[in-house]
Symmetry: C2
Subunit: 282 residues, 2 copies
């Protein structure tokens, strides 16, 4: 297992504002820090992050970009906020790092925006697990998210991602919730956390992602890479997000608030129970 620091930093900052009545007030805004990632002393990228879990973020970034295949390729991740640097030490170097980071795609993701172009090529090689979700559990999942104590509630302007599992008794369980100023950072952080918690045997459990952000192509690809066949969002979907989800047979559910939702793709994975819907509004 990689050795990680546990770099701490405040997640919000109090600032003085003037409101429409001309009154001065203090409000919290989310922190945002530049974290420059060095792999074996070579600079790779600078991530702008809230900074809640920088070590998991770094691990998950390397994983989701396809730059590292196994956690044990990494010896350590050392984050130092004083210099805004994350130093990654690998056990035996990363192959082709130069070549694999040569292309840049600027994407629509809210947050971390770069996906190296090799990523799309991997889509067709992905096979998703046979996960299904009942409407009652979807409603429960959305309820659990609504009740979380979050930086969003105190400071706004951050996105949340969460990983749920569906247990054999078909109940839904929140495993981890991560917020970040970029929602791709949030999902990458979950990927890093999963690597550090292999005792859950992720390959054997049914997993569902929740995100407050839109279901873009990147979100769908990252979910699939992490063996997740169902993604739930408070927001909507973009065309490329939908196209890739359809290609993968991945279930995308958007506009999920309270008991409402729209299922865009992978409808066979959703077991409808319309008795769980709200009454239609007059």
């Amino acid at each position: 297992m990689p050795r990680l620091t546990q770099a701490q930093a405040p997640l919000t900052r109090s600032v003085e504002v003037v409101d429409e009545f001309g009154q001065h007030a203090q409000v919290d805004i989310p922190a945002e820090r530049a974290l420059t990632l060095y792999v074996d002393k070579r600079e790779l990228v600078t991530l702008m992050t809230l900074g809640a879990h920088p070590e998991w973020l770094v691990l998950g970034y390397l994983r989701n970009q396809g730059l590292v295949q196994q956690a044990d390729e990494i010896e350590s991740v050392t984050v130092d906020w004083d210099v805004g640097a994350a130093a990654v030490k690998t056990r035996s170097g990363l192959e082709d790092l130069e070549a694999r980071t040569a292309h840049r795609v600027v994407t629509t993701g809210c947050g971390q925006g770069s996906v190296f172009s090799g990523l799309m090529d991997q889509v067709d090689s992905l096979a998703l697990p046979d996960t299904h979700i009942q409407q009652s559990h979807l409603v429960r999942l959305v309820d659990i998210m609504r009740l979380q104590d979050t930086t969003y509630k105190s400071a706004g302007s951050v996105h949340a991602c969460a990983l749920f599992t569906l247990t054999p008794s078909a109940d839904v369980e929140l495993k981890i919730m991560v917020e970040d100023v970029g929602r791709h950072n949030a999902i990458d952080t979950i990927a890093g956390w999963m690597w550090m918690n292999p005792q859950h045997r992720w390959d054997r459990v049914d997993k569902v992602f929740y995100t407050t952000g839109r279901l873009t192509s990147e979100m769908v690809i990252k979910a699939a890479q992490m063996d997740v066949a169902i993604v739930v969002s408070r927001s909507g979907i973009t065309q490329m997000g939908l196209e890739i989800a359809e290609r993968l047979g991945l279930c995308t559910i958007g506009r999920a608030t309270h008991r409402r939702f729209l299922c865009y793709s992978g409808k066979h994975r959703l077991q409808l129970q319309p008795e769980w819907a709200e009454r239609p509004r007059a």
Copy 2:
């Protein structure tokens, strides 16, 4: 002036969804297209865009990344949606293109996420015009945006940016509103449009930006690069957005809906008229 194609493509696509009552329905989702940008036949970047104004987007991208200083360095922009390509022909080549695109920063922006690292270095060299706004005009600006007919209203999941001018009679006038799946695309598109409309003598008029997205560092830097000293957002601000705005003396106003707002920085540019505020809620 550069010669531009006028590549058209539908902005929304109708898709079939299943809702919480188990009912099938058609909803519109925003289009999202990959546009690969070639400068003098060399591949630069792939942008994911709604596709409303791809030629202005390309111009504004080159401008806001600091890769092109003057519109007349560009001979033509040719967009072909069949192959998802934008071919830029320059008059005499771009200097140092290789070197200037070598660094990558993955940022928090909702949308277009990459800013080449040279950008931050430019912040301190920027001087903003002496623009001020009255609270009554801010209220009017927010009203104008609320009444726009938008892709957001029909399909959701897009961000809008708009450019307003403050006329000598101190009224507020909407010049252009752009939506995109990435809000940085939206602001870049406005930058491109400004280059194509030099008759407005942008250097001589007071300008205000409106964005539906968060006020991140990138949004603030891009506004300043475009000589805009006041930025208004429906959303909040991030810490780095605020720090850079303070450094620049740029006025950031967030949470702007109806008559409400919070002014985070550059407060001297906002002329308060508390009589324009809503009555406080009981």
